[in-house]
């Protein structure tokens, strides 16, 4: 019990005296996950929109696959990506392994199904009359799509934020493709894993608390967004 309390005390004093290295780690986490989110959203939102709005052969299968992939094991993603990005792999020539870009790629693969699937469900829950209203007011198919996505915006945002939360807390995949190189690819979660391994529990705990605080903020934004959506219904 004592060691837990003193661990927390030390952890908090570390947080209040954040040094440059630690700040760099936190910043890199945000950067990698932010980048991953942008990529995942850029692909996932149109993808979710298409399966939400169009009816085509194989659509149900895609939705099931997407929902399954929401729980994709990060290590599997990491390993597969490692084999692809490795110098001996098909994309080895790009020299991306053990770089922040590789980490962002891994995270965007993890975020993509979440973004796409939640975007899809937000869109199908939009009243079909919205589509007809937009058509009858003169919208082109693309304008109809944009209108429906705007109607679904709160649900879509929830999806994006949920995906951000997931990738921020992820460690398995980025450890494999990032290599946890000090000052280069070391982020919060991989540092926590490493410091725990080394037995530096206070530092690991301090970072854990920071991570939790960030998650808390993300979830507060999420809750706010969802409340916004409800209020105007």
């Amino acid at each position: 019990m004592d060691s837990i309390i003193s661990g927390f005390v030390k952890a908090f004093s570390l947080i209040f005296h954040l040094d440059k290295e630690l700040l760099g780690i936190i910043f890199l986490s945000l950067k990698v996950s932010g980048l991953a989110l942008i990529i995942a959203a850029a692909i996932g939102l149109p993808f979710g929109a298409i399966i939400g709005l169009r009816r085509f052969y194989g659509r149900d299968l895609i939705i099931s696959v997407l929902n399954t992939f929401m729980g994709l094991p990060p290590v599997v993603v990491g390993l597969s990506l490692y084999l692809i990005l490795s110098r001996s792999g098909p994309l080895g020539f790009m020299g991306l392994l053990y770089t922040p870009s590789a980490m962002a790629t891994a995270q965007s693969i993890l975020a993509f199904p979440i973004v796409a699937s939640l975007c899809h469900s937000a869109i199908v829950s939009v009243d079909p009359i919205i589509k007809q209203a937009s058509v009858t007011l003169g919208a082109t198919p693309l304008q109809v799509t944009i209108t429906i996505m705007k109607e679904a915006r709160y649900g879509i945002m929830s999806g994006v934020i949920a995906a951000f939360g997931r990738v921020m807390a992820e460690v398995g995949a980025i450890l494999i493709v990032g290599g946890n190189i000090a000052g280069y690819t070391r982020v919060m979660t991989t540092t926590i894993a490493l410091e725990t391994d080394k037995g530096n529990f206070e530092l690991a705990l301090a970072l854990g608390i920071v991570l939790l605080a960030i998650s808390l903020m993300i979830n507060m934004v999420l809750h706010y967004v969802q409340k916004l959506g409800v209020r105007t219904k």
């Binding site: 009359i129 209203a133 937009s134 009858t136 007011l137 919208a139 304008q143």
Partner: protein, 243 residues
């Protein structure tokens, strides 16, 4: 006066095997107000949606034309017609943005959009509420907004599906007045559904009676109500129909 009229030809439509419209043909003359009446579930809204090109019929055709030629089923045509839904269909944005929606789609310059929207919102008495979210409006206000949203587009053909359903007498007369104004100012082709027989009499140039998916009677507005030829139409108008 509107240059656009339309003809529906042998329209058939069924949902999940149940026939909803059967062999409906009619010529909607341009510049006139056509009122569709008929029992609940007889297929009026469906007929309206198909005529407004929001849905395809299983069989038959909808043809838009002026006195000289017919028009293709394309965005240009879509932008000359519009439909006002009985309820819903308002976007989860402000009143102003709802009213400006159609104009923005047409890439009309901002100053003009603002002017037109302001005029329309003042006409329907919603200018003060322009910054309110449209989904928070009362039923009557929402219906007025839906009308304003269609009005700013100055359509050649205006479809109205029960524009005064569930409105109080005052709102009903406000809406009727707006429709009369539109008629007077632009003379669009109006095709509207209503269950209010007095309203039908007040507004209709021509009346169509739909029964079980078929157009069974119709005629010029004033004559039809005095002297419906079909017995079912007579019973329906006088409230004696049992179904």
């Amino acid at each position: 006066m509107s240059e656009l009229g339309l003809t529906i030809k042998e329209i058939k439509k069924s949902y999940n095997g149940k026939v909803v419209l059967n062999d409906c043909s009619f010529v909607f003359d341009r510049g006139k107000t056509h009122v569709i009446i008929g029992p609940n579930g007889s297929g009026k809204s469906t007929l309206l949606r198909i005529s407004a090109l929001l849905e395809y019929p299983d069989e038959g055709k909808v043809i838009y034309h002026d006195d000289y030629k017919t028009f293709e089923d394309n965005v240009e045509l879509y932008r000359r017609i519009t439909l006002v839904f009985p309820k819903g269909g308002l976007f989860n944005i402000t009143v102003f943005k709802n009213a400006a929606y159609g104009l923005k789609l047409r890439r009309i310059n901002k100053g003009e959009v603002e002017k037109k929207v302001e005029d329309a919102l003042r006409d329907v008495g919603l200018w003060e509420k322009r910054n309110q979210n449209a989904l928070t409006l009362s039923t009557g206000e929402g219906q007025r907004l839906a009308l304003a949203r269609a009005m700013v587009l100055n359509p050649d053909v205006l479809f109205l599906d029960e524009p005064t359903a569930s409105l109080d007498p005052r709102n009903t007369s406000i809406i009727e007045e707006i429709i009369s104004n539109i008629k007077r100012r632009y003379m669009p082709t109006i095709i509207m559904v209503t269950h209010n027989m007095f309203q039908a009499q007040r507004l209709a140039d021509s009346v169509i009676f739909v029964y079980e998916g078929q157009i069974v009677d119709g005629g010029p507005g004033n004559k039809f109500f005095e002297n419906p030829t079909d017995e079912r139409a007579y019973k329906f108008i006088t409230g004696q129909m049992v179904y």
